[in-house]
């Protein structure tokens, strides 16, 4: 098994007009892992994925997938990559069976068992027309079409987008099942942190086109922390805090979220003379929201006029 990363980008940059949607992206995805690629809407996740697959040309930098330059992916390399698109678009006139037969004609390692297994898992009838399928069913069919070629690398672009919780759970179960097989690598983007938490080994976060996080999932959770400070009166103004993300101010309380909390950070906070200082554990979702939410201070203290109204 090669130690080479299955995906590697160097300075990958893409503009749409004058707007930079992916800036100087340097990323390496190790083989055999489940890699979550998260970020807010418009942060450049889908653009990155399209560049990885050679569907979009980068303006600067380069990317390689399975050791091949993404701009020159050969048919052989493409056969080893499964790609699930964001909106699960398929040919509406096909039936589920026809879609499978169509796809099977191109992929030499097509596994009919996997195809049948996944469509069965999603309760799809082979004779159902694609255009009559619900969004969740279509996602299931897309997943079946992506998995049945038995790809070495799976790239899933927000596979759970628009799915109800049940369909999403089915999708995640399929992914969990897949991760338990061989050395397959899964690179997926998502907005559902619960899903990420269940399946991902690593996490990369794009924040307004810039990669800010690339680490194991636990590291992210460990590094983003919330500190709860209580004061006798109104909390004092905040000084500059290293790794500061956001602070929420209430009557006599200040909740500060930051990364890389350490002795130095604590020293700065203690300088505010709080009555108490307490580290609060964050869920991944909370950590993620704090990380990608609006930076700075928020206040929940209402003025007298606001209270009376």
């Amino acid at each position: 098994m090669s130690d080479q990363p299955v995906i590697r980008t160097r300075g990958l940059t893409r503009y749409f007009g004058a707007r930079c949607v992916v800036r100087d992206l340097n990323l390496e995805v190790p083989r055999g892992c489940v890699f979550a690629f998260v970020g807010r809407n418009g942060s450049g996740k889908s653009t990155t994925i399209r560049m990885l697959l050679g569907l979009l040309r980068p303006d600067r930098g380069q990317a390689s997938v399975l050791g091949c330059d993404s701009r020159q992916l050969t048919p052989e390399i493409r056969a080893r990559i499964g790609y699930l698109t964001e909106e699960h678009q398929l040919y509406g006139w096909m039936t589920v069976r026809e879609a499978g037969e169509f796809q099977a004609a191109f992929f030499p390692r097509w596994d009919e068992k996997i195809f049948r297994g996944v469509i069965g898992h999603f309760g799809l009838k082979p004779e159902a027309r694609v255009k009559h399928l619900s969004r969740g069913m279509r996602a299931g069919l897309c997943l079946a079409l992506t998995l049945a070629p038995d790809p070495e690398l799976l790239i899933l672009d927000d596979p759970a987008l628009g799915l109800d919780p049940v369909a999403r759970r089915s999708l995640v179960e399929s992914m969990i099942y897949l991760t338990r097989r061989s050395d397959r690598t899964i690179f997926f983007s998502s907005h559902h942190l619960g899903d990420v938490e269940r399946v991902a080994d690593y996490l990369a976060v794009l924040d307004y086109s810039v990669l800010r996080v690339c680490c194991p999932l636990e590291s992210f959770r460990d590094n983003v922390q919330e500190v709860q400070l209580r004061f006798a009166g109104a909390p004092p103004p905040l000084p500059a805090i290293p790794g500061f993300l956001q602070a929420i101010r209430s009557e006599n309380q200040l909740r500060v979220t930051c990364v890389h909390y350490n002795g130095e950070t604590e020293k700065v906070l203690r300088y505010l003379s709080p009555v108490s200082l307490e580290l609060v554990p964050l869920s991944l979702e909370d950590a993620f929201i704090s990380y990608l939410g609006e930076r700075g201070e928020k206040s929940f203290i209402l003025s007298d006029t606001e209270v009376s109204s």
């Binding site: 503009y15 055999g32 892992c33 697959l53 698109t85 909106e87 678009q89 890389h260």
Partner: protein, 669 residues
Amino acid sequence: MKKLILKELREQYKIALIGLAILTVMLSLEFAGYGSHLRQVMSMAQGPSESFQPLLKHALLVQVSIFCAVFGMLLGWLQIRAEKHPDLWAFLVHRPISRNIILRSKVVSGFVLYAAGAGLPLFGIILVVSIPGNVAAPFTWAMALPLISIFLVGMVYYFAGLLTGVRKARWFASRGVGLGLGVLANIFLFVMPEFWHALLIIVVTGSLLALAAWGSFQTGGYYRDQPIAGKVALIVTSSVSVLVILGLTTTFVVNLALSRGEYTTSYYQLTKEGNIIRIFRQGFDEEVVDINGQTVLDEKSGQKIKQQDLQQPQQLWATTKGNGQRGSYQQQSFFNITRFFSAWRVKDQALWYLTADGRLVAYDVITRRFAGILAPSGGGDGGMANDSRFLLPPEYGPGYFNNHQTRGVLASARTAYLVDLEKRQLKPLFTVTNGDAIQGFAGARSARLEAANGSVLLLTRTSIRLLDVEGRTKLHLPYVPSSPEYPMVNFFWLEPAGFAVRFDPDHLLSEKSGGKLLSHVKWVNPDGSIRKAQDLPKLPELIQKNADRFFVSLLPPIFPLWSLNESYRVWSGFRIVPAILCAGIGWWLGRRNNFTLKAQIGWGVFHLLFGLPGFLAFLAVQEWPPRESCPGCNKLRVIDRESCEHCGANFAPPEKTGTEIFEPLTYQS
């Protein structure tokens, strides 16, 4: 590939069905109207020859041409458009086959659908027309060539549609530049002399568009990263298309808006007294001058005389160029019906056609079947010698027949005949002797042409003869100046007595001689003696219109000078001005966008050769990356280079916020 072809067929079959239905209705209506049209022409005893053969009817050819262009273009465009959504595009191209195979599948299925939608109805009408009893006119398979060429040119539009669909362009309208090449192919189609010429045009334009579509398909529509062949094809396609658009714009917009009334024309005319006058027209203004340039005044009123006030003498016109020689009507285009036949006369229920091989053939209007043949040898029994075919009369050319005005006279190389269609007999009027040969003839039949009525004009190698209806020679003149330099002869009946004969030079030979061949007029006394002879001074060159001049100055400098009319050559010199301007602006744009020196020089040479059309094509095909300020030198630099083109500084990595979390990733399963 088979699966992809089936997919395409399944997705686009509806458009093919719609096309099939529209064209079938169009052709059926045309054919349904044929019978009533036939009856109408029979009752009026005149009409255009083309209306007798649906396959060559100009209006139908134009309609089918428009249909094939729209249908082909739409089909190509829809095949790409259906998968333009990024997800569907990804689903299409992200599979273990090359894009070449995907495109090939699309093209194969596109051709199948095009053949079904346009080819089947066209094949149907050709088949119907070929079956005796359906069309009361001669038929040969060569008559199907115009329709076949129109069908084929639709494939050029198909590639133009593909290119339009696949191309990504900053100016939306510039996506459709490929269509210009289709329009050009269509225009050429109608003027090409031979089918193989048209085929060559179709192959060249189709290949260019196919190559351009292929190149764009490889990159998902972007110009950058295309194979060099695709780039070249796209640039050539765009340049030619821009030129066509410029030409059409100049013709239809600038011409109408700026040049109204600028059109000038000048020609000689003979009055019934035998005086030569020159008519000069500029727009709506008209001036009548004599041969010395003096204004002609009305004798009674003293006012300037107008052309409409002049009474023209009766005349007969004959030419020696009606018999398949170069420059004759039959040679103009393979779309021209007179390549095959010309309707000649109507008699009882029979339509008589003069075929291009010099025979009279009859078709019964009721049964629409072949009804008889007349040829100088007394029948159409093959192996015809020179004297066993009719020469083609001058009225053969325009392909319009008129029972009321055309004398029933025809001539072979040696004998002029009066044709009796009732008895289906040929009555010899005159036979040449001593190795002479008849080269052209004309016969007048009209109550209005009192003096000329019943006269037959014969042009032989050596003489011009005027015969009466019994074949008696009324006048005999030497044919000097002679054919082939002077193939056109006008014979005038002057008042109170005498004749005039005007000899006009062959247009092509006159042009070759540098205008030295002048029209010549002879005034002839009633006894046949020459009273006077005179060459007519060369007419002034037509004044070019502003729109024409404007367009000529926009032509690419590479456009060959010899192909331009001499009168435009001065203006063509100005072509270098926009070319230099374009090269300058192109160089500046290249510098601004950090082109390599090689690209700069390449584009510079291209702009000098292709001028404004090339420059517009350059703007249309190139992608212009945005620019942003360089922190090193504060100048704007393009974003698709690894370093600043001004100071060489690399792009700075994104600013750190102190919230980054990076850890080495090593997966251990």
